[in-house]
């Protein structure tokens, strides 16, 4: 169970209190009624689903109720930082990023552990 820092409560709380809410920094276009089909598809349907550093939204639903943003490494499940909704995409501190990437190389992947080790 993950331990998540709520930037509003300023506390580390158990994953039980939170709900994942999809990719972060997908901005709803202000002129949404006028955008093209391609732009709508980009906004609504397409997600990066990146392996590694991912920006995503969480809601402290059984706590303060606030939505916020998080930078998480999807390989190690490590939260690199969390910050309030509405703030621009925050750069991950270099040291954290370095640690995350260094770890990524050493962490098990399916190919390494489940597949043929060759």
């Amino acid at each position: 169970m993950l331990l998540i820092h709520c930037p509003y409560c300023e506390e580390d709380r158990s994953e039980l209190e939170f709900r994942w809410a999809g990719e972060a920094h997908v901005v709803r276009p202000e002129n949404i009624a006028a955008i093209s089909d391609e732009e709508f598809a980009e906004f609504f349907f397409l997600r990066n689903n990146e392996k590694g550093l991912t920006y995503e939204r969480w809601r402290h639903i059984h706590g303060c109720g606030r939505f916020f943003n998080a930078a998480r490494d999807t390989v190690s499940d490590r939260f690199l930082m969390t910050y309030k909704a509405g703030l621009p995409k925050q750069p991950v501190p270099v040291a954290e990023k370095f640690a995350a990437i260094a770890e990524e190389k050493s962490v098990e992947t399916w190919e390494q552990t489940e597949g043929d080790a060759r």
């Binding site: 331990l3 609504f44 939505f67 080790a117």
Partner: protein
């Protein structure tokens, strides 16, 4: 007879730490035995010379006790306290004896000594690895009916209890700074060190007492004190410290993300008469900043022919039974080893007066120190030799010994054989924490390498063998400054993994690798020959390491044999992944309090008890219990519902609508916010009025619907579907917080604050009028779609004039605590006027008669407001709302989309099945072109015929068309109509 001889002929006077005077009685397969307090079932039976404890999984071979700890793969027993308290597959080496315990062997019939299943052993050539995969492939149909039931019956070991578990289980959440797993020398030292820093410490050990290896290792001293005594004194010292919690009989079974660990504490399984208030087991969920892994190591067996007979066990286990329980495993004990540690077991036995037949060492050069000691004690050592076979049907009676590479064999009589192939570091928890292992080539073992979490390994689990180094490592791990010295007699060398001499590829012998699943070295070689080249495939093909002991003894041997066959070094073959739990955990502990009523708690409305008293049948809607229908004496569902439907339209009906989701939307921008969330326009709605609203997602599909009442310029009472309430609030909060944060709006869920009593029907006004104060209910003052704050029976209320039946309707909202009282009064009056109570079934039919839609029944997440016939609810003037762009997508505006229409069967008595598919031509070849499906279908008593609603491609342009619903036994002809079946002009709603 003295007490000690009572407790078994194999007890050795003066040996062990148990008190001879404190005894307990238990039975094993019906025979009564005396044990000593502190005995495990294994030590108690061994004390009486009982070695045969069970039959193996596949071949039904006689099996005994292999280990003295939780890694035991063989000695699995059925332990019961009474009829309901019975547990199968209990490890004899873990279960402590309690007075009155009833213990039985498993997987044998008719008896342990004469087991018919043992014929499997003779048929073994047919049961090679992959047997099931290959044999039961054909015919396909036979799998579910014949093969699987037979295999399931003959597989498995114990039998599950059939009665409900009468025990209860407790749960605790704890936070700490350092959790230490394992209380052997390393764990205790680390705890002393960490405790000195003042941090909050939890020290956990699975055994009844701390000490770990000090249980058997009687020659080690710490700070000049006997090791085991030091351990107990240290535990006392630690327990006295306010910042330390010591948990014994507690297993750390899982190491999860972010310092989260699962522990199970066995509270009463060892107690003869447990208090009724005590939980059987306690689940601890611990979140810690740091973990110190001091989990030690596990001794491996030797892989040689017929290495599984009762009487063959690990050297450390024999030493444990001797030094802790005072029990010898035999009177004439053989030793087969590739590691120095077994010598120490032999020395201890010899000094206790047990004869050691011979030490057979597969190595040419055993450790010099142990060799010298053996010589001193007069023990024969055959180095460079192997045990190549054993004999004895129900217990070993001889071992066959040969020089390595030589064919000359000789038999040596023994009544027990203790073995050691060396030690495997217990890296299970480290691996569960997603740490990465490295292979220590010199010592042929995997040890921790890269840590994924804030943890550190200390001691044997880290591959640290030397006592002084181990103590230093543990002190450093704890982070404190303490001094401690330890001394042991011998530093051990040696160890091997894989098949021993005489069990190699050229020998067709049964040399067991995995005892619990009956996997032999031969099986693993066969798997490789048949093309399994990944260790994960080999594991699944042979089931090596897949039993409940998770290969604690077998993994390394299996890996080495596979590696040899594949001609690839061990790190390249790879280790299988360790998964939680470390040892089996009972369902009772995991489920814990979530049983019975707490398994999935029901939500009940304030009027629930009154409805129950009126004979209501309830249905589940989400977690809610909703009154479904109110049968009178002798009525079945159909007659009850038909009566309710008719009464509502003829007189009136009273309905509990409390489960409707309710959200209070408040603030200066409330109307602007609703404008963005619903397709309708809300700024035009006057206070005191209601409007039916549709909510779409960004993709344009219907998400929810409901009536919204405007109480004031800045206050709306929003209702949602019963099931949709939580997600609608989440959806609203999401937009308010992240997309429209500039709007000044506050959202509050009020679903449970209001009890809602709906009164519907021609007499509805007359029923409620006497109770209402502060609002003129006349049509002029309070027409359809009005809302007012007033009082009902003196209780502050929100009164809605709304209808989900097409009749005059009111929904009385009163604070939940008054719901029952107001309901009672309204129902009394309604009843006297000939009205009825009605439930959700009648509500569904009445709304269908009017063509009102139910989101989630008539819509499925791919239906737009226009598809549903509610295009009018989408504002054409608004420049933005959630869904505005999605609704313009090419597929959502194309011709021929599925639309909701009414469907009438040609035969009015025929009631369609919901979900029935609709086609234009029932005689077309299969697969037929489906035009759509029936979403709602009922018998309408008011219309004297069946009615249905369906989603049909191009439905609204097909009015009057005949379509068909093909069923299994017939084809039903239907006509497409509009969705309003009753009171098409809609006059009744205005009264």
């Amino acid at each position: 007879m003295s007490a000690s001889s009572n407790s078994g002929a194999f007890r050795i006077k003066g040996a062990g730490r148990l008190t001879p005077a404190r005894t307990a009685r238990f039975t094993f397969d019906g025979n009564s035995y005396t044990a000593l307090e502190g005995d495990t079932v294994a030590s108690a039976l061994l004390a009486h010379g009982v070695h045969l404890l069970g039959r193996s999984f596949k071949y039904h071979r006689p099996r005994g006790i292999l280990t003295a700890g939780p890694e035991e793969p063989n000695a699995l027993l059925d332990v019961s306290r009474d009829a309901a308290r019975r547990q199968p597959n209990v490890r004899a080496t873990v279960q402590e004896v309690f007075d009155g315990a009833k213990i039985a062997s498993q997987n044998r019939w008719p008896s342990l000594k004469y087991d018919i299943g043992a014929v499997n052993d003779l048929l073994a050539p047919f049961f090679a690895a992959g047997f099931y995969y290959k044999t039961f492939m054909w015919p396909k149909e036979a799998w579910a009916k014949i093969y699987e039931p037979i295999i399931r019956r003959s597989a498995g070991l114990g039998v599950s209890p059939t009665e409900d578990d009468p025990d209860h289980y407790a749960s605790r959440y704890v936070h700490c700074d350092v959790l230490i797993a394992g209380a052997g020398v390393a764990g205790l030292t680390a705890a002393l060190s960490a405790a000195a820093t003042g941090k909050k410490i939890i020290l956990v050990d699975e055994q009844p007492e701390v000490g770990g290896a000090l249980h058997y290792d009687a020659s080690t001293t710490i700070d000049g004190q006997n090791g085991y005594d030091w351990a107990q004194a240290t535990a006392v010292k630690l327990k006295a410290m306010p910042n330390v919690t010591v948990l014994t009989r507690t297993t750390v079974f899982g190491y999860y993300n972010h310092g989260f660990l699962g522990l199970v504490e066995r509270v009463t399984d060892h107690v003869a008469k447990p208090s009724k208030d005590a939980p059987r087991e306690r689940l601890w969920q611990v979140r810690t900043s740091k973990v110190i892994l001091a989990t030690g190591s596990i001794e491996r067996h030797m892989v040689f022919a017929n290495n599984d007979r009762p009487g063959i066990m690990l050297a450390s286990a024999a030493r444990n039974f001797l030094n802790h329980h005072g029990v010898t495993v035999g009177h004439n004990v053989g030793v087969y080893t590739a590691h120095d540690s077994a010598y120490e077991a032999a020395f201890d036995l010899k000094r206790a007066g047990v004869s050691i037949a011979t030490i057979v060492d597969s190595r040419d050069k055993p450790g010099e120190a142990v060799l010298a000691e053996a010589r001193k004690l007069g023990i024969d050592v055959l180095s460079g030799h192997a045990v190549v076979d054993t004999s004895g049907r129900l217990r070993i009676n001889s071992m066959t010994v040969a020089r390595n590479g030589n064919f000359d064999r000789r038999k040596i009589k023994v009544d027990a054989l203790i073995v050691s192939a060396g030690w495997t570091p217990s890296v299970h928890l480290f691996s569960q924490s997603r740490g990465k292992l490295k292979f220590d080539e010199a010592n042929q073992r995997f040890v921790p390498d890269v840590y994924a979490q804030n943890s550190v390994s200390a001691g044997a689990c880290n591959g640290t063998d030397n006592l002084a180094e181990l103590i230093d490592e543990a002190i450093t791990a704890g982070g404190g400054r303490i001094a401690l010295s330890g001394e042991n007699r011998f530093d051990w060398t040696g160890g091997m993994i894989g098949a021993a001499e005489g069990a190699g590829p050229d020998h067709a012998v049964k040399a067991f690798v995995d005892f619990q699943h009956d996997v032999t070295a031969k099986d693993i070689r066969l798997a490789v020959r048949e093309g399994m080249h990944s260790i994960e495939h080999i594991k699944r093909f042979t089931t090596n390491g897949m039993a409940s002991d998770q290969g604690k003894l077998s993994n390394m041997h299996g890996l080495a044999i596979a590696s040899e066959m594949l001609g690839r070094p061990i790190p390249q073959v790879g280790l299988t992944t360790f998964r939680a739990p470390y040892t089996p955990v009972t369902y009772g502990t995991l489920i814990n309090h979530s049983r019975g009523e707490l398994f999935d708690p029901a939500r009940k409305t304030p009027m629930h008890a009154l409805e129950e008293a009126e004979g209501a049948e309830f249905e589940d809607v989400g977690n809610w219990k909703r009154a479904w229908y109110f049968p009178k004496r002798g009525e079945d569902m159909h007659t009850s519902v038909s009566r309710e439907c008719k009464t509502v339209r003829d007189v009136a009906g009273v309905f509990d609508a409390s489960t409707l989701g309710k959200i209070e939307v408040v603030g200066p921008d409330a109307a602007a916010f609703l404008n963005l969330l619903y397709t309708n326009a809300w700024d035009t709605l006057k206070p005191g009025k209601c409007r039916y609203g549709i909510m779409t997602r960004e993709d344009g599909f219907i998400y929810d619907d409901g009536v919204v009442g405007r109480l004031a310029e800045d206050r709306f009472h929003v209702t949602t579907t019963t099931g949709g309430a939580p997600r609608v609030l989440n959806h609203m909060e999401d937009y308010l917080q992240t997309e429209f944060p500039h709007l000044k709006v506050w959202l509050t869920s009020t679903t449970e604050q209001w009890a809602v009593i709906a009164v519907q029907g021609p007499q509805a006004r007359e029923i409620i009028e006497p109770f209402v104060d502060g609002q003129d209910l006349s049509n002029e003052a309070f027409p359809h779609m009005s809302v007012a704050e007033c009082t009902v029976m003196g209780v502050p209320a929100r009164l809605f004039r709304v209808s989900f039946t097409g009749e005059v309707g009111y929904e009385v909202n009163v604070p939940a605590d008054y719901g029952a009282a107001v309901w009672k009064a309204i129902w009394e009056r309604a009843q006297s006027m000939g009205a009825c109570l009605y439930g959700t079934e009648t509500m569904h039919i009445l709304r269908a008669e009017k063509g009102y839609l139910i989101v989630g029944q008539d819509t499925d997440g791919t239906v737009t407001p226009d598809d549903a016939g509610y295009g009018w609810a989408v504002s054409k003037k608004k420049t933005d709302f959630v869904g505005i762009r999605g609704l313009k997508r090419p597929d959502l505006v194309r011709e021929g989309r599925k639309q909701l229409v009414g469907i009438l069967t040609k035969d009015p008595k025929e009631v369609l099945e919901e979900g029935g598919q609709i086609v234009a031509d029932p005689n077309q070849p299969k697969p037929m072109t489906m035009l759509g499906h029936v979403t709602s279908s009922y018998w309408s008593e008011n219309l004297g015929r069946s009615i249905a609603i369906a989603l049909v491609a191009g439905g609204r342009s097909r009015m009057g068309e005949t379509l068909y619903v093909p069923m299994a036994d017939k084809t039903i002809a239907v006509e497409v109509t509009d969705m309003v079946f009753f009171d098409k002009e809609g006059g009744r709603i205005n009264g």
